[in-house]
Symmetry: C2
């Protein structure tokens, strides 16, 4: 199996380096993977003049799975839109048809204090957000900035979902719910937007094939409220690209430790791009203080979903739990009574705990 | 001055009745307003076959200010889209050009326990969200459900903002920030959506006219995170219709007492529609247990913004503070050690405290 590593920008290289240590250790124990590396985002712009250059694209298409650090940084803010780091991320998602974004929001018992929410509201929190990732207003045409008939400038975008796009993400969400608490909440704004009225109709139709899963519907504004009020009411949530962008970030932050949360972006055949839910944190890049655990847990998701190696995935996840139990903490999750470690020390500790 | 009352659906009539008691008491003390009443939403559909019928429209256009309860209920869910209650709300907003929605999220010290967030994170919370209300994907054309060129069904909507639409809401937001903490955060998704890239450009331009206000920009996904992580960093937030729908509901819920939060929707000349931030709560309708304070505080906003009667507004707000200080609580904000009262008892108590 071919695994492509994309360190990216900011803290990307240092956190990915720790995940590589973990993968290398598993290789020594017999994990049969071949690693390669390429730039994405700002690093790719620096090296090749484009955020998702052909060099990276070729390796990405050949790979069975991809592990990404993060992209973006202030030095790229002035670039033309098509050259900016996030275009690399949107480009690879679309190019590889990675339509199913799985984002768990899990509260680790050891880190319960990190949440800004009261312990009774979030203890045991375990939500999976399934976000559609290659459609919606992110990619809809027409779009742009134009002068309208009245001679005035205006900005415009198109929200758009076809039936097949909604069906395939519905199936991913229902199957995920089957493996978990069998509750699926589909989030829409069907009272205002036809796109999501259509989304709701298709979800309801696909539900017939999953009689063991209970489907509910919620308006996106209410979902944003309920995630604050009583987040534990949710098991699996499924929604479109833009609502998923907002709600999955909100849900991650409920845990207070976004440095712990991995994500997977999958195509129809189980090929996937894995990355931490957090960003490239340019302010702390190069200081060896970032938390590599979300990236290491992303590697675990990769082992599970794309490399079909549940045993290795569990082994990595248990190693992460072990270092937490040992009291090791990077700066972002440090509290009195625990031991503060650097990014690379955390990586070494996970390898030792494997 | 002409004030139109729209009781609406669900708990609407009972909460509006309490606000009317307050207005009647002020009339006795010399407040010169003329009250009329009309149905909106489901109630209007029942009476006239349309959620925003001509009868209501005529009175609404003539009024200087409008006080609304809430609209919506399950009995209307099966109606055709143009007949549903929320169409009445969208209709009156658009008809009267009520483009500026002001939604305060304030934590009352007496109700600090009601929040699901830790006291240190939310104590003293006082955010004003300025949401554009008559543009964006809510009203953008084209929209609908169609069969595309490939023969497949798809749903679509148009996100759209013209320069003048962004400018006028920018001015409202900057002026609001001038009267408060002089910090304005404009929320967009400029890294993906041209509409909001354009929004950001115009905001930045308008900022030149308000050198005393500090303007910052934040992506909507990050804003949803920051509202959970550290909500007190915000003073005034300004954003488009759909992002504002989501973020203002999220922000209200941070207080844990959405039954306390009013809102105003204003046109260019100070005419406005005032309504509680919460919904029509059909499950508790008619039981005389709803919290009327958000509606009473909406009447206070009406006195301030549309009737230019700051003294009366403050008098009402102080009366609300007084009943809280007396320990009176409706069921939604009740906790041990306080006195539970009904909706109408709460209304009477506010009148007594005036
Ligand atoms: C960087 C940005 C384009 C991206 C998105 O909006 O999808 C990010 O916020 C994410 O959620 O992965
Ligand atoms: C009822 C609905 C159409 C409305 C909206 O989305 O604007 C409501 O959620 C609100 O925020 O007032």
């Amino acid at each position: 199996m071919k695994v492509l590593i994309l360190p990216g920008d900011g803290i990307g290289p240092e956190i990915v380096a720790q995940a590589k240590k973990v993968l290398n250790a598993l290789q020594k124990d017999g994990l049969d993977i071949e690693l390669s590396e390429a730039p994405l985002g700002g690093a790719a712009y620096d090296a090749y003049g484009a955020p998702y250059p052909e060099f990276t694209q070729k390796l990405a298409r050949e790979a069975d799975a991809i592990l990404l650090g993060a992209v973006g940084g202030p030095q790229y803010d002035q670039l033309d839109r098509p050259l900016r780091p996030e275009r690399g991320l949107l480009g690879i998602r679309k190019d590889l048809n990675l339509f199913a974004n799985l984002r768990p929001a899990i509260l680790y018992p050891e880190l319960a204090n990190a949440s800004t929410l009261k312990p009774e509201v979030v203890s045991g929190l375990d939500i999976l957000i399934v976000r559609e990732l290659t459609g919606d207003i992110y990619f809809g045409q027409p779009r742009g900035i134009r002068v309208n008939d009245a001679g005035e400038r205006e900005g415009f975008n198109t929200m758009l979902y076809s039936e097949s796009e909604v069906r395939r993400i519905a199936h991913v969400a229902f199957r995920a719910a089957q493996k978990r608490g069998k509750n699926l909440c589909s989030v829409d704004k069907a009272n205002v937007l036809e796109t999501t009225e259509f989304w709701k109709e298709i979800m309801t139709d696909v539900a017939k094939e999953y009689p063991d899963v209970e489907l509910s519907h919620m308006y996106v504004d209410n979902a944003a409220m309920q995630l604050v009020r009583a987040p534990k009411q949710f098991d699996v949530m499924v929604t479109g690209n833009i609502f998923g962008d907002i709600l999955s970030d909100q849900a991650s932050m409920l845990t207070g430790s976004i440095g712990m949360l991995p994500s997977a972006s999958l195509d129809q055949n189980g090929k996937g791009l894995y990355e931490p839910s957090h960003g490239s944190a340019p302010d702390i890049a190069g200081k060896d203080i970032a938390n590599p655990l979300a990236t290491i847990l992303s590697a675990a998701m990769m082992l599970r979903y794309s490399l079909n190696n549940e045993a290795a995935a569990v082994r990595v996840e248990n190693a992460v739990k072990a270092v937490l139990a040992q009291g090791l903490r990077t700066a972002d999750i440090y509290e009195a009574g625990t031991t503060k470690v650097s990014c690379s020390q955390m990586g070494d500790a996970v390898v030792a705990a494997l």
